[in-house]
Symmetry: C2
């Protein structure tokens, strides 16, 4: 299995604190040594840093822990390979263009028998069940909406139906974004927390690091973090129920 991390915020926010906790699980405190990646949206653009090396020893991960890239939407993943060898093409998150937007996807779980699903014009590049599932969702979206849709929450409710379908093939915790919305679907385990004023202190589970969010925020900031396992030990994380999806925009829960 793998670990997922997502962030949705109403101001460009750096994810250094959460990523520091996640990175520890990549080959040091956890078995997820088979690569990692993190995608940052900035406006319509998206940049992804990936390494098939363990996250906890990666010079790229080290650079990111210290270089605060500010973004309103982030998706990160650290991998414990099951389907697909350890290789760059199998490293999440995956990004593809649809309707002139960058769509980004990361998956935790394992699927079986999924190749009966149609991916249409979206050909997988690597060998993972995850990229295949992403291509399936994109193909479903394009079939359902041949031209760019206007009402985005409806689009994500349709994506929820696609995730329900994928979930029939195994375990499918996932994060998906178009750069504005952060969609999360829970198959077995996924947690979220929204931080807003009054901000307090938080302490990482995986490393002896504490942060006082009040020193790094303004009273209007709203920041939601989603992860496969809570990253902090002194905050109340909400568990998403099996088969349930949540949609976030600018840090706020839409559904």
């Amino acid at each position: 299995m793998c670990e997922l991390l997502g962030m949705s915020a109403n101001v460009p926010t750096d994810i250094c604190f959460s990523f520091k906790g996640l990175a520890k699980r990549g080959g040091d405190k956890g078995p997820h040594k088979d690569g990692w990646g993190i995608a940052f949206y900035e406006g319509k653009g998206c940049r992804t840093f990936k390494d098939p090396q363990p996250c906890s020893y990666s010079p790229i991960a080290k650079m990111l822990e210290d270089y605060p890239i500010k973004s309103e939407l982030v998706i990160a993943h650290i991998r414990q390979a099951n389907r697909g060898k350890i290789a760059l093409e199998n490293t999440h998150p995956f990004t593809r263009e649809l309707w002139g937007k960058n769509w980004t996807f990361a998956h935790n779980g394992q699927l079986t028998g999924y190749k009966q699903l149609d991916t249409g014009r979206f050909d997988p590049i690597g060998q993972t069940d995850s990229e295949y599932a992403f291509c399936y969702i994109l193909n479903q979206l394009q079939s359902r909406y041949p031209t760019k849709p206007r009402h985005w929450p409806s689009v994500f409710r349709f994506i929820k139906q696609c995730a329900d379908k994928l979930n029939q093939f195994g375990v499918c915790n996932l994060l998906l974004s178009d750069g504005q919305f952060l969609f999360s679907y829970c198959s077995t385990h996924l947690y979220w927390i929204t931080r807003k004023a009054p901000f307090g202190k938080a302490k990482l589970v995986d490393e002896d690091v504490e942060i006082d969010f009040q020193k790094h925020t303004t009273p209007n900031d709203v920041v939601t973090v989603i992860t496969t396992r809570p990253l902090t030990s002194n905050e109340d994380w909400h568990k998403i129920k099996t088969g349930q999806a949540h949609l976030f925009k600018l840090g706020e829960k839409i559904f």
Copy 2:
């Protein structure tokens, strides 16, 4: 205008030396301060590091100068914005999937009146003429070859025709790759050099740095570098003629 850098090699090779020279042109020795990017192919995978900040001051560029990512195919670009604001979505190189492969594109020049060209299902995400031109080529490829072609040099000869068409709209020096082949098209200025045994020393134009390739290579290595302006002062670079294209694979010139 911008600067381009491409590399094709028969062994995974780091591009630190050439990138160090190019990076100096990004806001320090050159006016190309409006972002930069570099894509490394590793197997079927591709990872791109991008920053809308000047290359010569970017912590990501600094990390890459010291962290030797080894690849058989690299495309890099530093930007002096003309069409499209300074933003991540307008930062080259651009990567899209077609036929289950990552295609990567970078452009030097400026086009006018190009929006009459059809990009089909490949919608541009940013506002540059360059990404538009890339979408045009991909759409032409998919129209010409509805299913994955088999004879790749023919595909690249067809891409040469697309580049000829684009060149009618302005200046169009470009680099394009599917991860195996490196295609280059010269509108105004593009130079290449192939290094093989016996290897010698090379000295950067833009910085007081010299390298002895013999210490970093084996006798079988073949490495071709393509750039908009020669990067070294003591080697003979070939100038590509206007309207001419070259194709490289594993460091060797195919046409």
